[in-house]
Symmetry: C2
């Protein structure tokens, strides 16, 4: 069974917008065992869209379309699909009321032609739009499932999570069960990780183990297929156990857990509070940690001491230390962690000082050079790092490494 | 003439990596008048790749392939293409020497099978790889131009700019010139903007004006086609002037400029320094402003006063004010801006206090409610906002709105 994505929008083929919908959909579909085989992007162009739709209908059993559902004359997805399938669009009154109320609630007059957005394929299941006006639709046509979604990421994503995934999960629950598991790894390089588990990586087999490397983390993906959940789990669980044994505490999370989610949960669980003193990361660590709802339980304050004067005035780093050792030094990293904790009266103090680049580097202290410190009132650990990449990548790596240090501390793992 | 991109990689169709190569290639091709008609992504799977290649050969005159050129057995692009075109691959000695020297320079032994990376289609133009080992190729086959590039963005991008674009420019130099311009808009809603310029928005014509809406900004795209650069500009320039007149200072930038780039440049240009006191954004404003290289010239410090205690201790906000008015109030927003500027001795003090949600809301102060303040030592302006979306979207909108307030101040525009 082939799954195909068709993302429709002239802004996509012209490269004005990066297509993040495709990767989101592929990830979500993968989680219910539906692996995408083809992903096609095409502009709002009737002839080309017809070509692409006919191709997809000829080779795929699940087709997901995004984009081209707006009220303007550019938006042709439904009309073109109606021609290709030779299937009628009918006005859905409930949907039309919902669209009108979207405008009335905002004290706006519905624009002319808005009725077309409530046109639904006869027999289709309607997915209401929580954030916008264009509804989604799920349609079964001669054995093919066709899912039509808006192109606006926020609208599309909510529909996928609330309606499309539950629909597919139920639809295919009687058939083969596909079980997937993602293990998130941080703190070792890709090649080291692959070396550690090279005899467990199996591709094109059942179960399957593969790895993915992103700028922020390494992901190990385990997949098994079987006739029952139980059987699928029995294929996967021993593999997972072997991988966990090999990689130990380099595995920081699973499934959709990010480093900030894991650290936020650990701080909450262990009832520890934290304060952060950042230099080169410019607030990125505090920003990430406060992306988590409820972070006010553990996060007290962050000090972005970018200038040396700020380091002196806000963190009490001595002029002498800054002069003799330099702002990017073990000693300043250590004092920042100790002092931010003391000033804030939190359980933990986290610090970073380094060179994000492209300026500021010296022969001894190249771009990406940094010290990350963690103080708990008894001990202070300061580690030295050499990160590589451009300014943004270096900031991201620094941020994730600092949070990983907090994770390792809270779990009682070695910090070196 | 149709242009088609084929991005090859299992990590792409599984959604583990966002496909940024497609938008980069589309943009660059657009600049030499080659608009992409189809963009197809497929995994490292022989049968599917054959399908996709045959389709492309049947409908497109320029085909650009990325990915699948590595040394592992997963990398099948060249072999599959060789079968489909029935065209031989031959060892390019110069290329092989280059690949070997890539390893020798790094004191590494070339891995077995590396010779395959130097296999080039007979008659193809080789594009050497500055950053990696896999060379690119430009091939003409029965009237179709086929360009083969590595999937690693840095390697691919350099090859495109240094070799592919000059090749296409020369090849099609007799054809038309396409000129594009992007105007970035902030501070008004999409529908308000479209209302203001609705008579200027023209689609499917020459010149063309369209709009794109992202979570952070609105983009107006102007495109013209003509026989010469001069003529293309003469079609575009009057349109741009009309749009600028209508939208005035809601236009904050153009082309690839982001809000933080614009604000960073203005602070540098006007020689103003800034300090930031953030509550609900948790460091995101400081983080964004320090994404810009050279930000230490204008950014002194950021205080992320998340708890009330932090607001008292770090910013001298009185217990009484916090109690009587609440942390999310005009008065606290005002005091935060004034005090952070005074404490930091910077030209400007920027503050934000608000409710990012999902917790913390009251009947009077819903999720997304916020005050943003800006103090210059003489005056303090504090604006009230009601942002909508989830926690992350609200944080993003707050951050961009705060930076826009700094932009408006530095340009002498109204802050209300």
């Amino acid at each position: 069974m082939a799954v195909e994505l068709i993302n429709i929008g002239t802004e996509l083929v012209l490269g004005h917008v990066i297509n993040t919908n495709a990767s989101f959909l592929s990830q979500r579909l993968g989680m219910v065992g539906q692996e995408v085989a083809f992903q096609v992007t095409v502009g709002d162009n009737e002839i080309r869209l017809i070509t692409v739709l006919n191709q997809a209908l000829g080779r795929s059993n699940i087709i997901i379309l995004t984009g081209g559902l707006g009220p303007t004359k550019d938006d042709i997805t439904k009309n073109v699909l109606s021609k290709v399938l030779n299937r009628e669009l009918v006005l859905d009154k409930k949907c039309f009321e919902k669209i009108k109320s979207h405008f009335y609630e905002r004290k706006l007059t519905p624009p002319p032609g808005i009725q077309d957005q409530a046109l639904i394929f006869r027999g289709a299941k309607v997915i209401l739009n929580r954030f916008g006006t264009a509804p989604g639709q799920i349609l079964e046509d001669r054995g093919t499932i066709i899912i039509i979604l808006p192109g606006v990421p926020r609208e599309m994503k909510t529909m996928v999570d609330k309606s499309v995934i539950p629909y597919l999960r139920e639809k295919f629950s009687r058939g083969e069960v596909i079980r997937s598991k993602f293990l998130k790894v941080f703190g070792i390089g890709e090649s080291t990780m692959e070396d550690l588990i090279k005899d467990i990586i199996i591709q094109g087999m059942n179960p399957e183990v593969g790895t993915v490397c992103t700028d922020k983390e390494l992901i190990i993906r385990l997949t098994s297929k079987a006739d029952s959940e139980k059987e699928a789990a029995s294929l996967l669980d021993p593999l997972e156990a072997r991988i966990r044994k090999r990689l130990g505490n380099y595995i920081f999370g699973q499934e959709e857990e990010t480093m900030e989610i894991v650290v936020g949960a650990l701080l909450t669980l262990k009832r520890k509070t934290i304060s952060i003193a950042e230099s080169c990361t410019g607030g990125a660590i505090a920003d990430l940690l406060t992306d988590i709802a409820g972070s006010s339980v553990y996060f007290d304050r962050g000090i972005v001491s970018y200038s040396n004067r700020a380091k002196r005035e806000l963190l009490g780093i001595s002029e002498n230390l800054l002069k003799t050792k330099g702002a990017v030094s073990y000693e300043v990293g250590r004092a920042m962690a100790k002092n931010v904790r003391k000033i804030s009266k939190t359980d933990l103090g986290l610090s970073i000082t380094g060179i994000a680049g492209p300026g500021g580097a010296t022969q001894d202290k190249p771009i990406g050079f940094a010290f990350i410190g963690l103080d708990d009132g008894k001990d202070t650990v300061v580690n030295e790092y050499n990160f590589t990449g451009n300014r943004k990548i270096i900031k991201d790596k620094m941020t994730c490494t600092a949070l990983d240090m907090v994770r390792r501390y809270l779990c009682g793992y070695s910090l070196k």
